[in-house]
């Protein structure tokens, strides 16, 4: 093992541990919603576990994985060490301390406020302080990524950044912009209020700050997955990337459009005027564009790979692709599920149409296709690819690794399609059970919650396979000389000189301007309104 790889591996270790705990919680929830009686089943435990699942999957697994992956990309594509390795390690320990504090508060039953932690539900201060430390730790990562890029740029004044680094750098910048909202919410509003320093809190201001963060958060998850799709996947498929410059454009578009859309999570909220919601709805439609480009570019790269293996017909290139390779199948299946999730996203974003699905089971069905499939499945595939190369060990239990992505796909298809339908029939999300005192309307949902539970079981089996492969490889994999990490070449050679797409400072300024247009006026108006605060409640 290369000494410098200890840092990404430490981050991956935390990520996979969080994933393992959160997966077990998820299975219990899926069974509970189907009203299957389990030992120790209780409403308190259910809401505790929904909180743990959300926080550990959406915030801990993703963040630590992305941090680790970012360091791999930076050191390997730029061929230089990190500019600030001490800062990077400090970030890891700070984020880990934060995770332990927050997870401890949740598991002790003192913070069943879900991963959205809307006040005036009030958690133990350790939860909010832990969240703040997790965010601060991740900032050290963002800063390390930017400083490492700048050090490389001084050594290479004219070259374009490698595409993978381009994507991860945009991710790091986007994260700094996005977390500003939740950091203000957490440190200025929630921590003093939970400690009793302030008596009341404005729940709407907290919601606006949370969703300022909450949507770019999903692109913080997605962009590293796109980096894998654009820069590792085409090579594993046996071909080349169809277009490098469009890949660059895609990441820049996400930097510009990810944040000024947060009100689309608040269409059904009072106290935000309709015009601003409409503006955010329109910008949200724009975000579809870079993903449409990605769908074409990655599929075209697959065709390039198939034809490179000698395929000549209209579709027989599909048969030439390495379907047994777990990174390849993970990414293809992730893309298929994401196509459905993306269309669902356009429906959610459609302003008044949102009232038919807001906070129903449709929403959890939607984001399990996006973050739970496009992102999580890609990250698992990436783990199969990276771990042997970083650890210098062979992938153990290879059969489980080959089956696992397909099992995830099947489980998610059952889980997601059933929940989309129960959502359309009005079943709310995040309920311990959904019988509503024997209501005939609620009885309509019953069979489909059973299908959802079956999906949950398959997903749990798939997650268990993944954890077994990781443990087996890490602890018992046969030592070998590590294969190199190979980055996909573009079909057409990239420009010799950096272009307008590599002007990160400029694009950051443009992104900030668009955010100000979308947020400054409504936030200012809100702060001018006469508002009444709320004390904290702990009904859990």
């Amino acid at each position: 093992m290369n000494r410098a790889d200890r840092l990404p591996l430490a981050n991956f270790g935390v990520a996979f541990a969080a994933f393992a705990v959160a997966s077990a919680m998820a299975m219990m929830q899926a069974l509970s919603r189907a009203s299957l009686d389990l030992p120790f089943r209780s409403a308190k435990l259910y809401y505790l576990s929904v909180t743990a699942h959300g926080v550990l999957m959406a915030l801990v697994f993703t963040t630590f994985f992305i941090v680790g992956f970012g360091y791999v990309v930076a050191t390997r594509t730029l061929n230089r060490p990190l500019a600030t390795p001490r800062l990077a390690w400090t970030g890891f320990w700070v984020a880990l301390l934060g995770t332990v504090l927050a997870a401890g508060a949740i598991l002790a039953g003192k913070a069943s406020v879900l991963y959205t932690f809307y006040p005036p539900l009030q958690a133990h201060p350790a939860f909010y302080i832990g969240a703040a430390l997790l965010i601060v730790g991740s900032w050290f990562w963002s800063v390390t990524m930017v400083l490492t890029y700048r050090a490389w740029r001084r050594e290479h004044p004219t070259e374009p950044a490698p595409l993978a680094m381009h994507g991860m750098l945009v991710t790091a910048i986007l994260w700094l912009i996005a977390t500003l909202g939740v950091a203000i919410e957490d440190v200025v509003l929630l921590i003093p209020w939970s400690l009793g320093i302030t008596q009341t809190i404005d729940p709407m201001l907290a919601r606006m700050l949370f969703w300022y963060f909450g949507h770019p958060l999903v692109y913080f998850w997605l962009l590293p997955a796109y980096v894998v799709w654009y820069t590792i996947f085409p090579k594993v498929a046996g071909g080349k990337l169809f277009s490098d410059s469009l890949g660059r454009l895609v990441f820049i578009l996400f930097l510009l459009l990810s944040t000024p859309v947060g009100f689309h999570h608040q269409f059904m909220d009072p106290a935000i005027p309709a015009g601003w919601k409409f503006l955010h709805s329109m910008i949200t439609m724009g975000i579809l564009f870079p993903s449409f480009i990605t769908a074409f570019t990655i599929t075209a790269s697959m065709e390039v790979a198939g034809r490179a293996q000698g395929a000549t017909g209209l579709l027989n290139w599909l048969g030439k692709l390495p379907w047994a390779d777990p990174l390849f199948s993970s990414v293809v299946l992730a893309m298929l599920l994401f196509a459905v999730g993306g269309i669902g996203g356009a429906i959610n974003a459609s302003y008044m149409l949102n009232s038919a699905v807001h906070n129903t089971a449709w929403i959890q069905a939607h984001f399990h296709l996006t973050v739970g499939s496009a992102v999580a499945l890609t990250f698992m595939g990436t783990a199969y690819y990276l771990l042997p190369r970083l650890l210098g060990r062979e992938l153990e239990l290879g059969l489980l690794a080959r089956v696992q992505p397909y099992l995830w796909f099947l489980g998610m298809a059952l889980f997601s399609f059933s929940n989309h339908i129960t959502g359309l029939r009005g079943m709310p999300r995040r309920v311990y059970e959904a019988s509503y005192g024997g209501s005939a309307i609620a009885a309509n949902w019953k069979i489909l919650t059973g299908v959802s539970a079956l999906g949950g079981l398959l997903l749990f089996a798939s997650a268990a396979f993944f954890v077994l492969v990781v443990l087996g490889t890490w602890l018992a994999g046969k030592k070998q000389t590590p294969e190199p990490i190979e980055w996909a070449e573009p079909l057409e050679p990239i420009a010799a000189k950096s272009t307008w797409l590599d002007r990160y400072g400029l694009w950051t300024v443009v992104a900030v301007v668009v955010i100000l247009i979308a947020y400054a006026v409504p936030l200012w108006h809100h702060l001018q309104t006469i508002r009444f605060g709320s004390p904290g409640f702990k009904p859990f």
């Binding site: 409403a43 809401y47 929904v50 069943s112 879900l114 005036p120 539900l121 729940p203 709407m204 919601r207 169809f242 277009s243 410059s245 469009l246 608040q266 269409f267 059904m268 909220d269 009072p270 106290a271 935000i272 005027p273 309709a274 329109m282 439609m285 724009g286 579809l288 564009f289 449409f292 074409f296 570019t297 356009a346 459609s350 302003y351 008044m352 149409l353 009232s355 038919a356 906070n359 129903t360 029939r425 009005g426 709310p428 999300r429 995040r430 059970e433 509503y436 005192g437 209501s439 309307i441 609620a442 309104t529 006469i530 508002r531 009444f532 605060g533 709320s534 409640f537 009904p539 859990f540």
Partner: protein
């Protein structure tokens, strides 16, 4: 930037699809057949039950339709059953006296968040008489899944 022909066609097609989506939403916005509940009005949550706007809860009928005043709390709505006429606009006015709740009339486009300190308001018309289930769709504590109410839509006499 050199974009291959096929991809250029695809990008134009994607642009057209997105423009069509946006236009559909914009037409709905302009026609204002149904707007999301974007009412801006504040209220002291500690005093909401005594506030003149929410002291008299329940249904007020008028020539033009009905107004329903309800309060959400852990883990119930007050009142728990409301009767409204079919085919006429019904305006809901809602607030919370504790945490954030949801208010969703299953099978309709009636759906809003209820946030303490704020008044949620929306208007909708129920074409079909019958019994509707109202559920809380925002987690509000360990009794979240039992928080519900009944809406009886009565046919015009």
């Amino acid at each position: 930037m050199n974009v291959p022909l096929y991809e250029r066609v695809w990008m134009w097609a994607a642009g057209v699809i997105i423009a069509a989506f946006a236009l559909t939403v914009a037409v709905g916005y302009g026609a204002s057949a149904f707007q999301p509940p974007s009412h801006v009005e504040t209220i002291d949550p500690a005093n909401a039950l005594a506030d003149p706007r929410f002291a008299q809860r329940g249904v007020t009928l008028s020539e033009r339709g009905a107004t329903v005043v309800m309060v959400g709390m852990m883990f119930a709505y007050a009142p728990a059953v409301v009767h409204v006429p079919a085919g006429k606009p019904v305006t809901f006015r809602l607030t919370s006296i504790d945490v954030v709740h949801g208010f969703q009339i299953v099978g309709t486009n009636g759906n809003t968040m209820i946030v303490p300190g704020y008044v949620s308001q929306f208007t909708t018309t129920f074409a079909q008489p019958g019994e509707y289930l109202i559920v809380c769709n925002e987690y509000c504590g360990s009794g979240h899944h039992v928080m519900s109410a009944k809406l009886i839509v009565e046919a015009a006499p």
